[in-house]
Symmetry: C2
Amino acid sequence: MKKEETRKGERSRKKLVDATASLMRRQGFHATGLAQIVSESGAPRGSLYFYFPGGKDDLAIAALEASSDAWRAQILTAVSAAADLNAAVDALLTTLADELEASGWVNGCPVATVALESPSEPVRQMISAHFDQWLAIARQLMAQFGIADDIAEQLAVVALSAIEGGLLLSRVKHSRAPLLAVGQALKAIAEPHLPKAKKKR
Amino acid sequence: MKKEETRKGERSRKKLVDATASLMRRQGFHATGLAQIVSESGAPRGSLYFYFPGGKDDLAIAALEASSDAWRAQILTAVSAAADLNAAVDALLTTLADELEASGWVNGCPVATVALESPSEPVRQMISAHFDQWLAIARQLMAQFGIADDIAEQLAVVALSAIEGGLLLSRVKHSRAPLLAVGQALKAIAEPHLPKAKKKR
């Protein structure tokens, strides 16, 4: 009985976190009210105060962490089958453009909106840490295809910047074109730093 | 007497627009309330309803237009003295990093926050039009230094995306490094498309 209640509680917690993540991705922190979160989540109102006694800031951090983790997993899945860096870049940008377009141009970066509008220092630090995780993925991917570490470090920052900006432009313009242009540019930037095919044994 | 009143009214209108632009740049649309706008602007409360009978949406559009125009002028000033494209890119990114840092890491892109959080279709169309104006500046700048139009069209989208994302990353990380890395990358992307110095007569 007790175990069953715990499991139900965990499901309610997860429903709240997922609803908050989805709402904050589409409309940001300030537009997302607790009443809307409870209503969209289908979780009992009491569970909100039980699991997030610190209120909206606590819930926002849990939601941003969950959606950042989910995005990272989605990106890793998208690029995992790629045979070379160009294929990985194409797979990534296509995945992002597909999701943005399928959502009616609202599902861009899961943390960017809150990053720009929240005055909370804990929220900023959490998002900064998640940017670092995404940069690490980009560096690993470049290392895997033979780009030197110091170059990969700079290119990762440029790639994340260009992708974040591409998501913003594509969202505002209701067009895949900015994201696809970013993909082409990232391949061109990386190309001179890839080991030459002819040198392969 | 009547003329004097009109001038006073125009000053009040401008105060409201400037305060709204500044607040929305730092904290976005939803966090910016009418009471805060009136209080920060120093304009009489009545002027808000007189000049913006449509309320916050009308005022937001006027403010975004004003801050986008001001940003465009600032960018044009920053790049106007540049002798080549590399110098223009350096001047632009340094200007943006300087302003962001001097503001305590809050003055990033004047329209990006609202672009991501506002559900208003007129606001989206206005921001889309302003992105087009910024893209036109980038294309003109590249044309001025000899980059072919079709290449410049693609590179402008990439440059705006990377700069927008660089502003986001630099803001969240409280660091000039992302913007400066974007500047280095933009110069590298443009380089193969510049007319060769040796070909000059």
